[in-house]
Symmetry: C2
Subunit: 394 residues, 2 copies
């Protein structure tokens, strides 16, 4: 058995992006920017008024001074002349500042009579100008790789980038194996159960920028597995669920190797999820997840999502570790790292975390109520309530 | 001016779900479950072996005892007989336990010779049986409302729920107003800028379970606004951006009221985002966001997302407040609540947070680098490094 860290390293080895595509920014949120985006002009592209008022020369501003109003500028409607001594321009928020001015006196500080304004005695001292390029300069670059957020999309729009170059989405083939499995909505025999892992994993993959294709449930025979692998090999990443133990009916490993799997490892020192394997099959990355529902989902977070992130071109691919205060005692851990299903609560004093009593890897109800996994290293000693523990948010 | 809390209450008043629809579980992640989902049988539906080994009567298990192997059961292949005294059944993980047995002796603890097994001297004392219904009973209900996660999807599949009833997605009409605006990829005049808010907001809405329709950029004229509102009123929520101040060119409020807006409030005591309005327009909720890019996005998080969540049927709709340790001093806050753009870093000791030096509401570059907002209440006193502050993650 190897450690989780070693397994993650082996799973990620050699992975990279599968290609790029140009997408409109309306479809780019959640995608990974691969080519840096470049601005073509500064933002704002001109010195702009940030208030409604009168543009004047700052040197001329003194209480009770009068100015002649020579015109008007609004957002999208520049005034092209030059404001001379003794003159002011009516100006609105977002309008370009005209030549000859470097201050906006807000309208509340002015008395207007026809074409003449007179400044009040008490004047707001701010200039109310947004300088050229205060947000970004003309040569601004949004660097890559970058997982694009809604704020990034607004910024890209402001940069006049209508399309951006992102990595192609990894296509994942999901293979559930086992004669006991029936699809949801089906009519199971008394000795059968409903296939669940492939659906949870498909949702997880799609939430993290991949495309998932659920292949037909594959029977526990060599021929059936062979046929499924023949289809699956077209994908960018082949994921099997179940059939990965050493039992007479656990054929996935055997048939995958016959089919050309170059196995990197098999079995890791973790709970839940010991029977995990990875490798490459005819050049395609391959991940064999355990069949227990909770094990499959936890290994999805720990191994499959990092692989997807790396295939999307992201730099940080491993799960973010967050600390939280344990609200109860935990007994010592054994010879395998334990990823305990837990619930984080945000309090005024920070994150508190509680592990569920029931940690059996068959309990989807418990996983469904969990929003985090407490990470217990191998041979971790018993922990007291109040200890800061490391966890992964689900 | 009203407070942020008051404004949130007014924005949310009277909102509810728009209808329901049945969707396959492959499309249900991120949607809000509205009708509780019901299981039709327990999981597991039968007592199942959790290991490969031999099913026997626990009473008969003693070191060095011999049993006759009378058959075999595998996952999906029950053995229908009854195991008698002195008999054992070869059994594999996931297979139903046969009548007459209540323990699995793992294959590592057995020596097999033809049809006879002999137990070893040292025996693992676990019974290795997953009882009927240990995950959930036959009458299990997944309660609603519930924002469905990938783990929930796996659970729903295990419950044999092929489809679920979720709330219909709210359709949001996004209206950017202003003669200065040009669409991304366009050719702006020197006094124009690129429309950015609608793109950031569209991404935000779609990330949170809504559908966003960007309407054509609307000029600063009554006729243009009137025409746009005529189209927008078909949506479930009408959102304008910009034009909400009191200037001569800020027509949105005036024309909206002519068009039938029943305004609930206008102006809130917050930075960024003072000129915010909400109300109802011919029975449809209406939100008028400020035109400054950062103000629009921050108000999107504080007001628009809660409205979307309520229209999706969720119970908790306001942003989650998380505490974080300030890494530097902050000066006192003034008469408006301040939502400071900030960066949270996860450390071994918890969340640390740093506010950006530049807090101008025109700076999309700063917002884009922020992953949180520090919440400064009205008249908040100066804060020292090391203080725990409240924040909202972006």
């Amino acid at each position: 058995m190897i450690t989780v860290d070693q397994a993650q390293t082996l799973c990620l080895a050699g992975l990279g992006i599968l290609g790029t595509e140009d997408v409109p920014i309306t479809q780019a949120a959640g995608r990974t920017l691969i080519t840096p985006a470049r601005a073509t002009r500064p933002q704002p592209p001109f010195a702009a008024s940030s208030m409604d008022g009168y543009a004047v020369a700052n040197d001329a501003v003194m209480p009770a001074t009068a100015f002649k109003v020579v015109g008007e500028a609004a957002a999208g409607h520049a005034w092209d002349g030059t404001v001379q001594t003794g003159e002011a321009l009516r100006i609105f928020t977002g309008a370009p500042m005209p030549h000859g001015t470097d201050r906006v006196v807000i309208q509340e500080d002015v008395t207007r009579d026809g074409d003449t304004i007179t400044l009040n005695i008490d004047l707001d001292q701010s200039r109310y100008i947004r300088p050229v390029g205060v947000d970004f300069p003309a040569d601004f670059i949004l660097p890559s790789p970058r997982l694009l957020t809604p704020s990034d999309i607004a910024l890209l729009a402001a940069m006049n980038s209508a399309t951006v170059t992102v990595s192609r989405k990894p296509r994942v083939a999901l293979i559930a194996t086992g004669d006991e499995l029936v699809m949801p909505g089906g009519d199971p025999r008394p000795d059968q159960i409903i296939a669940s892992n492939i659906f949870g994993l498909k949702a997880l993959i799609e939430q993290h920028g991949g495309e998932a294709n659920i292949l037909p449930i594959t029977a526990d025979t060599k021929d059936a597995l062979h046929a499924t692998f023949t289809t699956a090999i077209e994908a960018d990443l082949i994921v099997t669920i179940g059939g990965a133990s050493v039992g007479d009916h656990d054929l996935v490993g055997k048939v995958a190797q016959e089919f050309g799997l170059d196995r990197a490892f098999y079995k890791i020192a973790m709970r839940p999820g010991k029977p995990l394997m990875s490798g490459t099959m005819h050049g395609k990355p391959f991940l064999g997840l355990p069949g227990n529902p909770v094990s499959a989902m936890v290994c999805g977070h720990l191994f499959l999502l990092p692989m997807l992130r790396k295939m999307s071109g992201l730099a940080q691919v491993l799960p973010t570790i967050v600390s939280a205060t344990l609200t109860h005692d935990l007994s010592a851990n054994g010879a395998r790292a334990h990823y305990m299903r837990a619930q984080i609560t945000e309090t005024e004093n920070g994150r508190e975390i509680i592990a569920f009593d029931r940690q059996d890897s068959a309990l989807l109800t418990v996983l469904s109520d969990a929003n985090a996994l407490i990470v217990r290293p191998i041979a971790d000693s018993a922990l007291k309530a109040g200890t800061l523990v490391q966890s992964i948010q689900l």
